[in-house]
């Protein structure tokens, strides 16, 4: 196993005395596709929010690429190389597809506010470079140029998801966090998503961590799966190991049905 790109150790989070995460240890290896599963309310999205700097855990450390993340503000975490998408697509309303993706390039551009106010030539050149890089991201996820100037929220839902992934790619991450990327997609779109996740890893060298309820997709795409239940990490392993793990079956089906076969 290669070195861990992202490493959480002893992370605990509570809101007003309610434990959300307890003593979570978790790793994502460089170049891996890892899934985080668990029943609703297990704390999966909270874990994402800790990684991206929105929630500050009371204890524990989060290390990414050799850098301690917990002290960083969210925009610094993104600059360090972590991007995420949301369960419900959160594209900027009123902006075109292209403008949405271009806003993802913000932390990778150098021209500051002063150069922008003055409209310096360097700023214009950079603007063209940004457009080119975004065009590349959009083509990569399969959005065609005829859609670039449409208002992003008018696209079909599946395409909005692609734009959101393109925007996350535009931040030039080393690790991409996908929060339920298959929600609301039909069977064909799910297959395309699986192919896209693989290409993101294989062609761009970006590690992927996803939260997903669609077990078929999780089993097909992930090399490792971690299971979170009531804020605690209860299992970690390959798809086969997780499917056979009695604790996981119990977490999903409740104690009485622990014998029952989990329908993956």
């Amino acid at each position: 196993m290669t070195a861990a790109l992202l490493s959480l150790s002893g992370v605990s989070l509570a809101f007003a005395g309610n434990t959300v995460l307890q003593n979570v240890d978790f790793q994502v290896a460089e170049g891996a596709v890892v899934s985080l599963i668990g029943p609703n309310g297990a704390g999966k999205t909270s874990l994402f929010n800790c990684i991206t700097g929105f929630y500050k855990p009371q204890t524990g450390t989060i290390t990414f690429d050799g850098q301690a993340l917990l002290k960083l503000k969210p925009h610094r975490v993104t600059a360090a190389g972590i991007a995420r998408t949301f369960q419900n697509v959160r594209l900027f309303r009123e902006m075109t597809v292209m403008q949405n993706v271009m806003s993802g390039m913000h932390c990778r551009t150098r021209s500051g506010a002063i150069a922008a106010i003055l409209g310096l030539p360097s700023q214009r050149a950079e603007e063209a470079a940004i457009r080119e890089a975004c065009d590349d991201c959009l083509r990569f996820v399969g959005v065609t140029p005829d859609e670039y100037d449409r208002i992003a929220t008018t696209l079909a839902y599946g395409h909005q998801r692609r734009v959101e992934i393109a925007r996350a790619l535009a931040t030039q991450p080393k690790l991409l966090l996908l929060d339920e990327p298959a929600a609301g997609l039909n069977a064909g779109e799910k297959q395309e998503l699986i192919a896209l996740i693989r290409r993101i890893r294989d062609e761009r060298g970006i590690s992927v961590l996803l939260i997903e309820h669609d077990m078929g997709l999780v089993m097909q795409v992930s090399e490792r799966i971690s299971v979170l239940d009531h804020g605690a990490m209860i299992a970690d392993g390959t798809a086969r190991e997780i499917q056979a793990n009695p604790k996981v079956i119990e977490a999903y089906l409740g104690q009485e049905d622990a014998e029952a076969e989990l329908d993956f």
Partner: protein, 304 residues
């Protein structure tokens, strides 16, 4: 005067007034856009801009004169200074309150407004200060219509500032970040946008535009005083609401519409010019009743 004369005359008056309203309304709407605050201290920044423009002009007039070139230099200096004052106000008074309920920050804005007014009141003793310039009285006669050069320069300057702002917001990465923050602050952070920096730049630009309007208004009307920002602050707020608060083109449009409405409102029989404020605020109420999102505003729909 013929009807046509009256119309063209009030058109010019309305454009001048509308330019001031639009410049101040822009700051209102931009600040509302990024932090959802109605910055009731914004009109007072216009007033401070007038005073700093006056002081700058006194300092530079021996070198560049007190005609338009001098006024432009003074306006530029005032814009920079008031821009920084706006940034400091945001850091000191508003930034610690960003997580607080909107009402708390609104009350903070009223407090900032009082602090600014009373500071200038204490410094000036509440007297009108004559804003002396060497502006000429020349102009163009178009038939019976007279347009002064001052009016032309003023409207043109406001136009240039608005075009520059439009290009900045729509054509640059920083402007895009500003729009992104106004639409979804959390998402913007996740895309690596430094939200604090965007808020600071927004306050700088908004305050600088108010200072530009304050300096030009001082030079154009010839006097300034500590309370001059109060009414224009309310008018600019009205203009921003008419155009759709949060919308930059809306603020420009709203400012011009309000200026023109006021100018023409004074011509309605039996309604003298002393009623023009009633007229504009009646328009505000009408807009709020008939189209609360304003002309170019979009309704906020929370998606579940």
């Amino acid at each position: 005067m013929s009807l046509l004369d009256i119309i063209s005359h009030q058109l010019v008056n309305g454009l001048v007034l509308g330019s001031f309203y639009a410049l101040v309304a822009l700051g209102y709407t931009m600040i509302f856009g990024v932090i959802k605050l109605l910055n009731f201290a914004h009109g007072d920044l216009y007033m401070v801009g007038g005073f700093l423009g006056f002081l700058s002009l006194s300092a530079v007039s021996s070198v560049v004169g007190a005609d338009w070139p001098g006024i432009f230099v003074a306006m530029f200096l005032s814009m920079i200074a008031v821009g920084f004052i706006g940034v400091v106000i945001e850091r000191v008074a508003y930034h610690p309150m960003l997580a607080a309920p909107r009402l708390s920050i609104l009350i903070t804005a009223l407090a900032v407004s009082l602090v600014l007014q009373n500071t200038v009141l204490a410094l000036t003793g509440g007297q009108y200060t004559a804003f002396q310039t060497d502006l000429g009285f020349g102009g163009l006669n178009l038939g019976s219509l007279f347009i002064s050069y001052n009016q032309m320069v003023l409207v043109a300057t406001a136009g240039v500032l608005m075009i520059a702002l439009h290009l900045f917001v729509n054509r640059t990465q920083f402007g895009r970040a500003m729009r992104a923050v106004s639409i979804d602050m959390d998402m913007s952070q996740l895309l690596g946008i430094n939200v604090s920096a965007v808020i600071a730049v927004t306050f700088f630009i908004g305050s600088a535009l108010a200072a530009a309007a304050g300096t030009m208004a001082g030079a154009y009307y010839g006097s300034i005083w500590y309370f001059m920002g109060f009414l224009i602050g309310l008018k600019a707020f009205t203009a921003a609401v008419i155009g759709g608060i949060g919308s930059i083109p809306g603020a420009m449009l709203g400012g011009l519409i309000l200026g023109l409405l006021e100018a023409f409102g004074t011509q309605i029989p039996f309604i003298g010019s002393e009623w023009k404020d009633v007229f504009s605020f009646a328009v505000l109420i009408l807009v709020l009743v008939l189209k609360p999102t304003g002309l170019l505003g979009k309704s906020e729909q929370e998606r579940m």
